[in-house]
């Protein structure tokens, strides 16, 4: 079962998956947790499947093995603007499974694709007009008729593009979200949110448009959007000014005016030229229950109760020690890094990444937090991860790392939590780590 982090709990290292040289750009479990999809900068999708638990390994869940690999997006060239369209996969979202096949949506900056991943473990044999290798037989040699039969074959996993949703976004797509009705989904770019029907590719409905009449008036962009997990008419979108707007599609066709606006008043003590930048929300995620939503800004994670717009109900500092380094981080552009966040299955723990390949977990129930590191040196199979600490004061204790020693090139932007179990997937720049909760 899923449980929060107690002091006795420890996270143990389950698996290290070396991916290609390309930078991982998205990580997502499917609804059962059996499949784990990653997208990378080269436009590739790699899907891992969890092994069925073996009886021998009592304390471990099954390992994840490569299930399918396919090229989802190719680089394109926009001739009109003389600009490349990156093939990098920005987001992957699984559709709820309806039959034997699996479906997922993957998107780059401009185009969303629906992929079908299906297994084939049988093939028809005994055709009348074809040889087994596919060559056509000379009809004159056919003297008898037989009925082709299905015979087992080695398992083959095929990925085929079923829909291509293109030409609906002038700006860069940052989010896709499947509706709970399983028929529609939304896609959001910097200035607009569009609603699609999964079956219809040649048109979408624009439901949010914050593009000003004069672009000179543009001061705010959309940074993330998500459908409510249960209410198919409700979605939220976050902005670069730290606001979240909740919209009800029943109210109007164009949801420019929000039903609710979530915004925390600025702390005047912390005001600086960087205040707005660090308030920019990089990710927004509803809790599984649908009662809360979580936002990630540069320094913190905030939990909001959907019934209270004035301020978050919980705030967790991810790396407050960076507050005094904001100018340097602005200079090297790190301040613009977009960290994601995720909930565990029962919404009791939230997780997000940081620098130096650190990632952070916050147990809402026990009000505890933990800092862990995803690194090869520190990860022996099944070994328990040692919590990390960044020293902020003058004296650095042994085993602590000072802020100035942090490697800002090693950032964990993408993390995912198995929806039903305490298994987490953590992506460093090039590698995927899978950790599990050590069962005591």
């Amino acid at each position: 079962g899923v449980h929060g982090l107690k002091t006795q709990h420890s996270i143990s290292f389950l698996q290290f998956l070396l991916l290609t040289a390309d930078i991982i750009s998205t990580v997502e479990f499917n609804q059962s947790g059996e499949l784990l999809a990653t997208g990378d900068k080269g436009g590739r999708v790699v899907i891992f499947q969890q092994e069925q638990e073996s009886k021998n390994k009592l304390q471990c869940r099954g390992e994840y093995n490569v299930y399918s690999t396919f090229q989802s997006h190719e680089p394109e060239f926009d001739y009109l603007k003389s600009l490349e369209i990156e093939e990098k996969i920005n987001k992957i979202r699984w559709l709820p499974q309806k039959n034997a096949a699996h479906f997922l949506l993957s998107t780059n900056d401009k185009t969303i694709k629906l992929w079908k991943i299906s297994e084939r473990d049988k093939r028809p044999e005994g055709y009348n007009l074809k040889e087994e290798d596919g060559r056509y037989r000379d009809p004159n040699t056919v003297t008898t008729l037989r009925v082709p039969v299905f015979r087992p074959m080695d398992l083959m996993v095929e990925a085929s593009p079923r829909r291509v949703f293109a030409n609906a976004h002038t700006y860069h797509i940052n989010s896709i979200s499947v509706n709970s009705d399983c028929e529609t989904y939304l896609s959001a770019d910097d200035l607009r949110v569009n609603l699609w029907h999964l079956e219809i590719t040649d048109r979408s409905f624009n439901i949010v448009d914050i593009k000003p009449a004069n672009m000179e008036d543009l001061t705010e962009v959309i940074t993330a959007a998500e459908f409510h997990p249960n209410q198919c008419n409700t979605f939220v979108y976050s902005s670069s000014k730290g606001t979240i707007r909740l919209c009800d599609m029943r109210a109007a066709a164009l949801c420019d005016s929000h039903a609710k606006l979530f915004e925390e008043p600025e702390d005047p003590n912390n005001r600086s030229f960087f205040s707005e930048i660090i308030s920019s929300i990089s990710d927004v995620k509803f809790s599984h229950s649908g009662r809360y939503m979580m936002t990630r800004d540069y320094l913190s994670v905030k939990i909001w109760d959907l019934n209270m717009e004035s301020r978050p109900v919980e705030t967790y500092q991810v790396h407050e020690y960076l507050r005094s380094k904001l100018c340097s981080l602005y200079e090297n552009d790190c301040i613009f890094d977009k960290f994601e966040c995720c909930w565990n299955g029962n919404d009791s723990v939230v997780m997000t990444g940081s620098y130096n390949n650190f990632f952070r977990m916050f147990d809402r129930g026990y009000q505890q937090d933990m800092t862990l590191e995803a690194s090869r040196e520190n990860s022996k199979l099944r070994s328990v991860l040692k919590p990390r600490k960044v020293s902020t004061g003058g004296k650095r204790k042994k085993d602590e790392i000072s802020v100035d020693s942090l490697d800002f090139n090693k950032k964990i932007l993408h993390t995912a939590w198995h929806p039903l179990d305490n298994i987490i997937a953590v992506a460093t720049t090039n590698n995927l780590y899978i950790f599990q909760d050590k069962l005591n």
Binding site: K81, L83, T170, N206, M215, K325
Partner: protein, 306 residues
Amino acid sequence: MFPKGTKRKFSDSGEEAVSSGDQGPASPSVAARTLSSSYSLQRQSLLDMSLIKLQLCHMLVEPNLCRSVLIANTVRQIQEEMTQDGTWQIMTQALAAAQCPTDRLVATEVLCRQTDAAAQAGQSPKPYSVVGVEEGYHSEEVVMEGDVETDVTMSTLSPVSPQLSSASYLAGPFGMGPCWEEEEEDGECEEEEEEDSEECVSEGEEGDGDHLSADSRTGEQVFGTFEIKHPAPPPDPALEELFSDVDPSYYDLDTVLTGMQSAPKMGPYDLLDSLSSHGPTALSSSSSCRSDLNELDHIMEIIVGS
């Protein structure tokens, strides 16, 4: 960890900035004098850094709009504060007084060729052209030395006095459009730009003015890209007919802000440039897209003369 940047780094809080006895450019007003010089140095440095960031856009890929918006907002904030404490006016006055040699600016221009748009718009780029925040993306308002005073609508800018006509404002850039040619090495340009900044800064406090003009120069380069649409030459009737079914709403600044890169050749190419993503947001079919693209390719070949 940190790229080679301006010599004077904005001190992170807790550290002492490079302190100097100079108060800043020209004759300080009472307000400016009361401001700590280290703070204004830091603020200036942040401003310079921000402007550089806005201009160092990716050549091949559309720049990140969110990042650009956040940087532009930061620039605005600084401008606002500097206006309120009087530093802004001092700076611009100093610029008007100072004669910054243009060779440095020319060098920047040579290495980082700007688009012809500004020239096409009927203005010759000058080192101290005034550029307001809104000017850049408003297609109707051409960035010209003469008019900007009247056209500056940004609320945070204090009213311009006529004597500042030749002074340079800070570009409030929405520097999305890649202003540099694809052939240029990003690194090269970046270095050059930073060298310029460093040169300026190393001249001392008075150099602030120089520095500023360099920024505004490059700011104008950035703005240059936004002038493509105005005034566009009469469109080629043949091309017009070809694109007659395209929704004219695409002839708007979307294209500019999505990082459209101007081609060296103007003229009918303008028309192609001003089309945003090929296909309306609501309706499109990929097959008709493809055939249109083929036609466009064909036309481009004719224009480019390949």
